[in-house]
Symmetry: C2
Subunit: 318 residues, 2 copies
Amino acid sequence: MTNTPVCVVGLGLIGGSLMRAAAAAGREVFGYNRSVDAVREARFDGFDASENLDATLQRATESNALVVLAVPMPALPIMLAHVRDSAPNCPLTDVISVKGAVLQQVQKFGLLDRFVGGHPMAGTAHSGWAAGNPALFVGAPWVVSVDSHVDAEVWAQVTRLALDCRAVVVPACSEEHDAAAAAISHLPHLFAEALALNAGEVPLAFALAAGSFRDGTRVAATAPDLVRAMCEANAGQLLPALEHGIKLLTQARDSLAATGSLADLVESGHAARMRYDSFSRPEIVTTVVGAENWRDELAAAGRAGGVIRSALPVLGSR
Amino acid sequence: MTNTPVCVVGLGLIGGSLMRAAAAAGREVFGYNRSVDAVREARFDGFDASENLDATLQRATESNALVVLAVPMPALPIMLAHVRDSAPNCPLTDVISVKGAVLQQVQKFGLLDRFVGGHPMAGTAHSGWAAGNPALFVGAPWVVSVDSHVDAEVWAQVTRLALDCRAVVVPACSEEHDAAAAAISHLPHLFAEALALNAGEVPLAFALAAGSFRDGTRVAATAPDLVRAMCEANAGQLLPALEHGIKLLTQARDSLAATGSLADLVESGHAARMRYDSFSRPEIVTTVVGAENWRDELAAAGRAGGVIRSALPVLGSR
């Protein structure tokens, strides 16, 4: 199983980093990218890349490769149509930042049986093959879905790929992932955009901006299309998070106006951040993948902060 | 003038860093701190520190030192009472993050004539003498007030201290400083608190949190008392900024709910952040401090992004 080839569809920041990381771990890896320029760059860097999608997926079928969908959300349906036609029996995963919307599409194309969703929680404000980095995933949480449909063997393959990329695996259900992603990624993006936009309208603001502004707006430098794609695809979870964020700020505004105090927001925000800083990450070691209730057991362990740092045993595997 | 001694009142992160930076620049510097422990630490590190405020201010009077108020806003009135009693004729500045509220207090204690407000835009999430760092101000914008009352000689002394600490000086009026600080520091603090608090209530959020959450909530790790002190003291400017931030987020929420699109916020936020990244900092070199309209001229130059990197000529000085 360790030697399953990896077929990466989309060689941008994430897909390109994954290709490099998998190769560095000794995996056979090949991939597709739409842009001829990126393919040329990847080849120049010594990687096995092609701009022919169907030929790439055909090769995945022949070698029973693990197919990794690493395209932006809007390109997903077209890619899934090709996978259905050229590689319907390959184990399939993705590295897209929303899981519920991906699951819906995968189901629509009849590919659910061999699919296990994934999401490495890593990125930079840059994009494209050239921005890739084999160390991008080192120590990062990489969600591998434990939704009720997932197959134990495919799950183990996806987990092994994440571990080969030196991530730590967090097992989670798609819906819980999306609610968490709204809180820790999509809402921070919108807050960053609002901070940048507000400051841009104040004379002297950019002249004085220092660390708290730079950090608070760093992700506003991300390409707008990518931000929109991930936030809009997660609207179902992002809307209540945004609603709650607005409510917290409105309560603080009302308190500041009425009493001059920001105690509630500042003290509870600080306490939450302190809890995050001391959040522990126990290793998940006891679950046997494929055993009774294994998905629920892993989902509960992930929710409690558990991470997988080395491959778990798989029921019936030698 | 270069050799004016510096008297630092308050040896926390900012005051302690200032003491180290001034000493590194060859300035004679001594200081006061309320806590005996911090005084002992500073002395252990080779600095001239005392826990006797009146003796320290007496010494400032004798050497005509530049007195730097580096205490949190709530402690300011008590310090000003001592300055009025023991060092009323010393040139006086401060490094507190709000300028309008400080100005009011200074006026109340009758110390306006010799006062020029200041604010180095630098900090970390840590506090106290031990957190200090002589390089804290290197390259940071340091606002020096050009309000209509400021004296040219004192202004030149405060500017020289900031330059000795290797900051770049941004001349600005107190009110404009406070509006800018609300946009680039105080609002980012409140947004960070709200992001941390919101995520703390979502299962799995801390387990998945990565760069965008860490950066977006970094300043929520700052001691709540310090955050409250600076935000609450700037309520007059922070309230409209908070109002505007809430409005931008509410518009995004409405747009996402109605049309599924976040285009307006994401595209304009990104454009603002790009403008910040390419914001230029022309050097201010032509103004003669003390010449006609020098304060207005510097305020306009600061507003346009101008910074002072080496001492400007002072009218009538040799």
